[in-house]
Structures are given as C-alpha cells and as structure tokens.
C-alpha cells in the first residue's frame, strides 16, 4: 500500500515538474531534459509486465496531452518499458537479495544504477527525438541532440535520486 501511494505521488510530482518547469528549459540550442521517465525507471521490480506497460503508456500520453503531440511520448515510453524488462531480466537475480530489491541508487549501487539509467534514458531520447523529426536523413543531426539531452536528463536523475535517498535513510 505504502508503495502504491509513493508511486502515485512520484507520478504526479514528475509530470508537474516536466510540464511546468522542464518544458521551458533549453540547453545549448534545442536540448530539453525529460526527467519524467524517472517514474518508469523507479517502478518496483515486482511490478507485473502488463502494469508496467500500462503505466508507461499513461505517463507518456499524459505528457503528450500537455505538449500537443499525441502519441509521441507514449511511443518512446512504451519502448523504454520494453528495454527495462530486458535489462532487469538480464542483470537482476532476485534470489541474491534478502528484502525486495528496488531499482534505486540506494539499494542497487552506483554502477548498476548508472548503467541502467544511462541505457534507458538514451533509448527513450533516441526514439522520442527521431519520432519527432520523423525523417531518416536527419538521424545524424538528431544524434547530437539525443546525447546532450540524455546527459542533461541523467544529471537530473542523479540529483533527484541523491536528494531523496538521503531523506529516506534518515527516517
């Protein structure tokens, strides 16, 4: 129960931050961070696949509605969810942990979380920006935007993780 409320609050906070703050943030030309996918990254491991895909689709659609790009973020989020399933099934053995593990920086350690976040953020941004441009011939030009946006998002993901994980430990 506690877990569900925590995720609902995270959903709302991330969507609000994305819509009202990050949408207007631009670094070096056209690079915008998309921090909201932190929600997909942090869903607990025991989330069943159908729920994972449904939630990813919903948060993508939610962002789309505020950006007038119906389906764009939803597409990217669903693809991200699929790669999340792949990565967790390859890298996480649940028997090795005593309590239920969660994909957070605090529990999984820096190296694992860095790899996990980097790959998923890159995949999300790659599909998102290329679907937006929608032209094969512009993929090379888009790649630089993908890299810079990914770095920007990754930085914010780590800032968010470090800030909130410290708080939880103290309680």
């Amino acid at each position: 129960m506690n877990n569900i409320i925590k995720n609902i609050i995270r959903y709302l906070v991330l969507v609000l931050i994305q819509i009202f703050l990050l949408k207007n943030m631009v670094l070096f030309g056209l690079n915008t961070p998309y921090l909201y996918i932190l929600f997909i990254l942090l869903l607990p491991f025991e989330t069943p696949n159908w729920l994972l895909f449904l939630l990813s689709f919903l948060i993508g659609l939610n962002i789309d509605l505020f950006n007038d790009t119906v389906g764009l973020h939803a597409c990217a989020c669903v693809i991200t969810a699929f790669f999340r399933v792949l990565i967790t099934s390859i890298t996480v053995q649940k028997e090795n942990y005593e309590s239920d593990p969660e994909p957070t920086l605090a529990i999984m350690g820096f190296r694992w979380f860095f790899f996990y976040a980097l790959v998923l953020i890159f995949i999300h941004h790659f599909t998102l920006l290329n679907l937006e441009v929608f032209r094969f011939s512009e993929i090379p030009a888009t790649i630089s935007r993908v890299f810079l946006s990914s770095l920007f998002t990754l930085l914010l993901v780590f800032v968010a993780e470090i800030v909130f994980f410290k708080k939880r430990q103290r309680k």
Binding site: V26, G29, L30, T32, N49, W50, L52, F53, L54, S56, F57, G60, L61, D68, T69, V70, G71, L72, A74, C75, V78, I79, A81, F82, V85, L86, L131, E132, V133, F134, R135, E138, A141
Partner: protein, 279 residues
C-alpha cells in the same frame, strides 16, 4: 493451444510492446499533421519516382515523333518573326495611370500559443477565416518576418514559423539583386541560413537581410535579420550565410498577417504558365 498460451505468457513483454506501440503509433500518425503528411509523402515519393523512371523510357521511344513536331513548330514560328514581315508601323506612346492601388493590407493578431524548441515549430494566432486570413499568407512581427499561415479555422490560424524545416522564404541581401531561400537547420532558434548567394559578394557582418519581394507572400524589403558570418560551402560557388533573426520568437506577442490584394491575379497567371508547360 496450451503451448501457444505458454509461448505468449513467456514472452509477454514483447506482446505488450507490440500492442501498446501500435496504439501509440496510430495515435501519433492520426493526430499529428506533420507525421501524417510525411508518412503519406514518403509513399508518394516512392510511387512518384517509379513513374518518373517509366516516363524517362517512354520519352526516349517517342523522340522521332517529338522531333517532327518541334521542326514543324519552328517553321511556323519562323514565319511569324518580325523579320518575315515588312515594317511599316508607326511609333506609339502609352500613358501610365499613376493612381495608387493598395497592394498589401495588414491584419493585426495576437499570439495565443507557440513552440520554439521543437524541430518544427508553429505559432497559433487569434485571427481566422472570419477575419479574412487564408492559407499561405505571410506573417511578420514588429521586428521582422515570422512565418507563413499554415492552417486556418474560423477564429484561429496556425503559422508555420521560420523555425520549420519546410519553410523557405526567398530573401536577399539589402542593396544587392541576389536572392536565395532561407532555411533553418534545426539547431539554434536564433540563427537561420541563407543559401544560393553567389560567392563574389564580400559580405560584412551586420549587413541587413530582407525579403526579396519575389513571389506573392511578402512585400519587398521587410527585415529578416542581419548577417552573422558567411563562408563558402566546400567547393561550391555559393555562399552559406548565417543570419541572426531579428524576430525574438521567445518574446513574440503581436504579429501582422499580410494580405496581398493582387495575389489571385499573379497566381492565376503563373499557374497558367505551368499548365501550358505541361501540355
């Protein structure tokens, strides 16, 4: 049946991916004009290029026939030349009527929504077909060119801004006769590129770039921006000029839509040219 079910539940992530991705893609392509247009355009391009290939073969087979008809036409035209007639005409004078007619009218509109950070940017204004706005009209702001009207509803219109990959505004360097299309490369919303200007021109930074007045959309001499730097693209004979836009899209509040009273006349004329070329 059991095996099938086992297979599906084992690889359920993949099936979920397909289901949700299909929904999302259908939404994306149905609801976003840009993606829809380019999907259909791609298919049209393929069909079109096939037709073009077939046509080039047909053209070759018909060469003899075409040659005959061209020779015939040459004979007819030679007979019509001035040198074929005896010249006994008088010199006539014509008087030009100097009463001014209004060519361009401006409709004021307020910006109600805009995007700047996407690859293809649009601006929505609060004037539409009721106020006389039509697709294809030019739009300028207080400090320079903004874009071209794209879609019109009763009370609103959306503008394809200069910051769009399909926008081509014919512009020229102030004080020179040279002109070329202005394109945006999608990197910096303050800088656009002016191409097709011959490279014998020695441009200084801060030279003004203005609309050329060719075509029917913009009057001549409306400011677009100033030259930032110019350089020759590898081995070409044309300059690639980086132009700093004079319009600050972040601060854009009011725009003017330009109505050209002679647009239909000019377009009908040019359309007739194209048709007679095709025949």
């Amino acid at each position: 049946m059991l095996n099938l079910w086992r297979f599906i539940s084992r690889y359920n992530a993949f099936f979920f991916l397909i289901i949700y991705l299909t929904i999302a893609l259908v939404l994306l392509i149905r609801n976003n004009d840009f993606q829809r247009a380019s999907t259909f355009n791609t298919s049209n391009q393929i069909v079109g290029s096939v037709y073009q290939e077939v046509n080039s073969i047909n053209k070759y087979l018909n060469l003899a026939l075409v040659n005959d008809s061209l020779a015939n036409e040459n004979r007819r035209l030679h007979a019509m030349l001035k040198t074929s007639f005896m010249d006994d005409s008088l010199v006539t004078n014509t008087v030009t009527d100097t009463i001014h007619k209004v060519k361009y009218e401006y409709i004021l509109a307020e910006v109600v929504n805009k995007s700047i950070n996407s690859r293809n940017n649009y601006i929505t204004i609060n004037r539409g077909s009721k106020q006389g706005i039509k697709k294809g009209m030019g739009v300028i702001g207080p400090s320079g060119v903004v874009g071209i009207v794209w879609n019109v509803s009763e009370n609103f219109a959306s503008i394809q801004s200069v910051l769009h990959e399909d926008t081509r505004i014919t512009s020229s360097i102030e004080g020179t006769p040279y002109f070329g299309p202005l394109v945006w490369n999608g990197k910096d919303p303050r800088i656009v590129t002016l191409t097709d200007i011959p490279n014998q021109l020695n441009l200084k930074p801060k030279t003004r770039v203005v609309t050329s007045g060719l075509g029917v959309i913009f009057p001549k001499g409306i400011l677009i921006g100033t030259v930032l730097k110019s350089g020759v693209k590898g081995g070409g004979s044309f300059l690639d000029i980086a132009v700093k836009l004079s319009t600050d899209f972040y601060a854009l509040q009011y725009v003017y839509v330009i109505k050209n009273n002679f647009q239909t006349e000019q377009e009908t004329l040019e359309e007739a040219n194209k048709e007679s070329l095709n025949e």
